[in-house]
């Protein structure tokens, strides 16, 4: 179907397949996420597989690292910074602050023209065959720069037809651009929606630029809200998959996001990504300067869990830079600066890319089987609570495996494990502990702080010193499952943990809260 879309002449016969998708989306939203809803179900879009959604939808998301939690272990994305202008002001954004050592939305080292962007995409695609997704995510608003955004998309649509195109927007200019979005086969659109009540919005958005006027206060948020809802409805009608990004701002929209979740679900949003506010005084943002804090790991998880019933919730977002390149959680943008791609020989080999992607497909099948086997091995144990759930941290370099040395990890993936499930619930970024073979002792406490809510950390290898310190902090270091698939490793460790409780060897104890994000650094 993908091919049918590409073969169609521009502007022609695209409506037909899209209409087909629309029907599926309608069916899907009404029943939550495809099949069964309810507590404990793997949230679709985040970790659902082919069994949980219609084939057409699965086809659209299976190789998209942002739309499928599973895919993010295998496929890479890139952003091109062609859209610097913005039409609104947010209190968590400061356009004057830009640091190449930092990784967070809105930050970018090099702005590109559409022509430069296309060249960069082709260079990356020929180097990294698992790069399947191209997004325009600012550093401003993609739709406040319609010429630059759509020029880029048009050229890519023609030269690299297998790459999925996405844009990210605040939604203010969305309704008037929906037709243009459909024209270039952009089938994933992310809208940042932080409120559905303009009174709440007034605390987040100081002004918008609208119809040649700067509008402030509640009125600004009322217009923004109306445009966002209208744009979302229009995209759903046309079968474009939508992801809603919401920034959790404690004290301003934390509980309100549950209402946002309800409203966007009602209008057919495919995925909801609730992410923590990033706020430091040195960023010079309004929130940074007023001391507005970001949420703790537990606060974030509480809101995410409250939005989970029947929702498609994304928990693997890395809040990456507007010019990031690579797998989520890594950034290879340094390898593809303008002067470097100038010297590169660019060969866009569609066959090579397909072959690689088939290999990944086979890997995913074995990963799924390993999980099924591990679940089958879970035992019913007397005197162990069958509903017990714990968090484990995992060090991974990708491919869905426990394959990273503790000291090399710049982030840990967090899985919530029960007898019946290993569910990806998030990630924690940490400073690199080990550089060139010896550990920096002073960084270890910050790692412990970041995974303090976990009972165990699964790694490929770990040195004696950090091992002892983790144990002292009550976190079990585990290297027995090195190079196994993550879910299988987590489930097997949990089975063993429960057995030790049953034997009276250890006692189960609850863990505390953890910090989400440690400082600012480049990795990811």
């Amino acid at each position: 179907m993908e091919n049918a879309l590409q073969d169609a002449a521009p502007g022609q016969s695209r409506l037909k397949p899209l209409d087909g998708i629309k029907v599926e989306i309608a069916g899907q939203t009404s029943s939550g996420c495809g099949s069964t809803g309810g507590e404990g179900k793997a949230s679709c879009g985040s970790s659902a597989g082919p069994d949980d959604m219609p084939a057409e939808i699965w086809d659209k998301v299976k190789n998209h690292p942002c739309y499928s939690e599973e895919a993010h272990h295998h496929f890479a994305r890139m952003h091109v910074a062609v859209a610097p202008a913005c039409n609104i002001q947010c209190n968590y954004c400061n356009r004057k602050y830009d640091c190449s050592n930092e990784s967070r939305p809105g930050v970018v080292s090099q702005k590109l023209t559409p022509e430069q962007a296309v060249k960069k995409v082709l260079a990356v695609a020929s180097e990294i065959p698992q790069m399947t997704v191209l997004g325009i995510a600012g550093p401003g608003d993609s739709l406040a720069n319609p010429m630059k955004t759509f020029d880029t998309m048009r050229m890519l649509h023609e030269t690299a037809p297998d790459i999925k195109l996405c844009i990210s927007t605040n939604g203010l200019a969305l309704p008037e651009q929906v037709d243009e979005i459909c024209k270039y086969n952009i089938d994933h659109v992310t809208i940042t929606i932080n409120m559905v009540d303009p009174e709440v919005g007034a605390k987040i958005y100081p002004w918008i630029f609208w119809n040649h006027k700067r509008i402030t206060g509640v009125e600004a948020s009322r217009i923004l809200h109306e445009q966002q809802m209208k744009g979302l409805e229009m995209l759903t009608e046309r079968g474009v998959l939508t992801k809603i990004n919401s920034v959790l701002i404690p004290g301003i929209n934390d509980e309100h996001l549950i209402e946002v979740n309800r409203e966007v679900k009602k209008r057919g949003a495919f995925l909801h990504n609730i992410m923590p506010l990033i706020s430091e005084p040195e960023h010079g943002t309004v929130f940074g300067l007023t001391g507005q804090r970001g949420p703790s790991a537990q606060e974030l998880k509480e809101v995410q869990d409250a939005c989970m019933g029947g929702a498609n919730l994304m928990r693997h977002c890395r809040q990456c830079r507007a010019d990031a390149v690579g797998l989520l959680g890594e950034d290879r943008s340094d390898e593809f600066t303008l002067d470097k791609i100038e010297d590169m020989e660019i060969v866009y080999d569609l066959e090579k890319r397909r072959a690689y992607q088939e290999k990944v497909e086979a890997e995913r099948v074995s990963q799924h089987q390993a999980k099924v086997d591990a679940l089958a091995a879970a035992l019913d144990l007397e005197n162990v609570d069958p509903s017990m759930k714990v968090l484990v941290a995992v060090a991974t370099e990708g491919h869905g495996k426990v394959n990273q040395h503790f000291g090399h990890a710049t982030e840990f993936q967090i899985f919530e494990v029960s007898k019946d499930e290993a569910l990806f619930v998030g990630h924690r970024r940490v400073d690199l502990y080990c550089q060139g073979g010896f550990g920096e002792d002073e960084q270890l406490p910050s790692i412990v702080n970041a995974i303090n809510d976990c009972h165990a950390v699964l790694v490929a290898k770990i040195g004696a010193c950090p091992r002892d310190e983790l144990k002292a902090a009550g976190i079990e270091p585990v290297d027995e499952y090195a190079h196994e698939f993550i879910e299988k490793a987590a489930l097997s460790w949990f089975n063993n943990y429960r057995q030790r409780i049953a034997n009276g060897e250890i006692k189960h104890q609850a863990r505390g809260d953890a910090a989400i994000r440690q400082g600012a650094f480049k990795a990811a």
Partner: protein, 72 residues
């Protein structure tokens, strides 16, 4: 008078450029400038100066007193 852009403040985001009704704004080395002879302070076009309203950094598009007030 005409408006001018404070170079040290300009982030080069380009938000002002397409909003100018007189095509008075141009880019050089990553930051934007206003040609004073083309600037009409948006008088006769809009209620407020478009560069000022669109600019994300306060006090970056300001009146340049070196030029006489524009008369429509």
């Amino acid at each position: 008078m005409a408006y001018k852009i404070v170079g040290s403040q300009c982030t080069g985001c380009s938000a002002c450029e397409p909003e100018c009704p007189n095509q008075a704004i141009y880019e050089k080395n990553g930051v934007f400038f206003i040609k004073p002879e083309k600037c009409t302070e948006c008088i006769g076009h809009f209620d407020e100066a478009q560069c000022v309203a669109a600019c994300p950094v306060d006090n970056t598009c300001i009146i340049d007193t070196a030029y006489p007030r524009y008369e429509a």
